[in-house]
Structure formats: structure tokens, C-alpha cells
């Protein structure tokens, strides 16, 4: 069994990278592998944005990620620094700027340290080395 750490950097509407990442995660779990967590960075943070309305007839990436997370208990982590500057605010950040929060509650607003700590933790345990995938 392998363990994967997933890094998504593109938005749901201008790239297929997010869809590919999700398909990869689903396939990996179906084959008995494990996803350490999915980390959303750069424009990838838009996957957590509840204000995005997909065009009629198009699938919502947000809904798909939420369903995936619920079914597989995989953590979805979104970088707060990358999110704030793109107007995607957690409840805490929204309260500071007196605006509304638009990060879906299934996504955890975290610092980048969360991603690199996972990398560090798994490198130190020799049982399962972590494979990092960037989409």
C-alpha cells in the first residue's frame, strides 16, 4: 500500500487538473492506497469557494470533492494565505474583514506548514514513504 499527498494548484474552471486529481484520489483509494490529505494552493483554493456557480449542465467540482471527502474521510486542506488574497475567506478571516465566509465547511483552512509537516512526518517513519503528486 502506498500513501499519497496531493497538491492542487489550478482552479476548477480554467483547468482539468482538479478533476484529474480527484479521479487519481478515487482510483488510488479503490486500489487500496491511502491519501494523506489533499492540499489546495495557488488558484487551486478556488475548489473550496462556495460562491462559484458552475454553468448550467456542468458538474460542480466542489460537490464532488465534498462527496469524496465524506465517503473516504480524506482531509481537504486549503491554504489560508493563498485563499485570503483571492477573496476566499474562512469564517475566522471573514470576521476580521467584516465580510462573508465562502470556504466550504468540508475544507480545513490551514497554513502551508500543514502540508510540509505531513511530508516531514512520513519521511521520518520508514514504514510508508509518502508520494507527492502535484496537479
Amino acid at each position: 500500500m502506498k500513501k499519497f499527498l496531493i497538491f492542487v494548484t489550478r482552479s476548477p474552471f480554467d483547468s482539468l487538473n482538479g478533476q484529474t486529481a480527484l479521479s487519481f484520489c478515487e482510483a488510488a483509494i479503490a486500489l487500496g492506497h491511502e491519501i494523506e490529505h489533499v492540499f489546495f494552493y495557488q488558484q487551486g483554493i478556488q475548489h473550496a469557494n462556495v460562491d462559484i456557480q458552475p454553468a448550467a449542465g456542468e458538474k460542480s467540482m466542489l460537490t464532488q470533492w465534498v462527496t469524496f471527502s465524506e465517503q473516504t474521510k480524506t482531509s481537504l486542506n486549503v491554504c489560508v494565505t493563498a485563499s485570503i488574497k483571492r477573496g476566499v475567506l474562512s469564517v475566522e478571516d471573514a470576521s476580521y474583514v467584516k465580510s462573508h465566509s465562502n470556504v466550504h465547511h468540508a475544507f480545513n483552512p490551514v497554513g502551508m506548514a500543514e502540508y510540509f509537516s505531513a511530508l516531514n512526518k512520513n519521511a521520518s517513519s520508514d514504514t510508508n514513504s509518502l508520494i507527492c503528486m502535484q496537479f
Binding site: 495557488q42 494565505t81 497554513g111 502551508m112 511530508l119 516531514n120 519521511a123 521520518s124 502535484q134
Partner: protein
């Protein structure tokens, strides 16, 4: 110790990639990850000493690159072949970076636990 390689391939200021790469490097170094940083392709434009971000009212990418050693990131390289491709000279680039060839880059990739490309 985990070894992370960050490859920065975009010119500064035109989008957020150069800034995002630098922020990722600092975050990684901060939690004890050993970071190597490589400027590749048009990312070499980030190294130009003559850049000036005042007009754009953006943080200077060059100043942030020069500060990397203060954050324990000392392995900073650029791909020498790409300098020739872009018709840049080593004198035009900041001196905190070291040239490497593509073979050395391959070795660096192979020796890293994780690679992030921006």
C-alpha cells in the same frame, strides 16, 4: 530530513507563481524541511539585478530571493542552459544563485523526496 525541491519556471510579477514558490519555500524551511530552489526556463528572469517592482507596487521578488539564505535555504540554483536560451548573461543575474546543468538538475530531482513546480 525531508528534501524538497522547488522549481520556479515563471517570470516575476506577470502572475503569482514566483511569489507562491517563494512562500512555499519559506513555509517548508520553517518546519525543518531541507529546501533546494531551482530557477528554470523563464523563471531566470526573477534573478535579474536590474528588475524594479516599484511601478507595479509589488514586493520585490529579487529581494525575497536574496533573503532566502536567512531562512536556511542555501541551495539556490539556476539552469545554465536556460540562461543561454534566454540570451541572458551571468553578470546580469544576482550572485546568490549558482549555475547547474541539466544533468545536475536530474540528480537533484532524484535525490529529493518531493518536487513542487511553479
Amino acid at each position: 530530513m525531508t528534501k524538497l525541491l522547488i522549481i520556479s519556471t515563471k517570470p516575476p510579477y506577470v502572475d503569482s507563481a514566483s511569489q507562491d514558490a517563494l512562500e512555499a519555500a519559506l513555509a517548508a524551511s520553517n518546519v525543518g524541511v531541507e529546501v533546494s530552489f531551482v530557477f528554470s526556463q523563464q523563471g531566470l528572469y526573477q534573478l535579474l539585478e536590474s528588475q524594479n517592482s516599484t511601478y507595479l507596487q509589488k514586493r520585490s521578488v529579487l529581494k525575497q530571493i536574496k533573503a532566502l539564505p536567512l531562512y536556511d535555504i542555501k541551495a539556490i540554483y539556476y539552469v545554465e542552459e536556460h540562461m543561454t536560451d534566454l540570451m541572458l548573461s551571468s553578470q546580469a543575474l544576482t550572485s546568490v544563485v549558482t549555475p547547474i546543468d541539466t544533468n545536475a538538475l536530474q540528480q537533484l530531482c532524484a535525490a529529493s523526496n518531493a518536487i513542487l513546480r511553479f
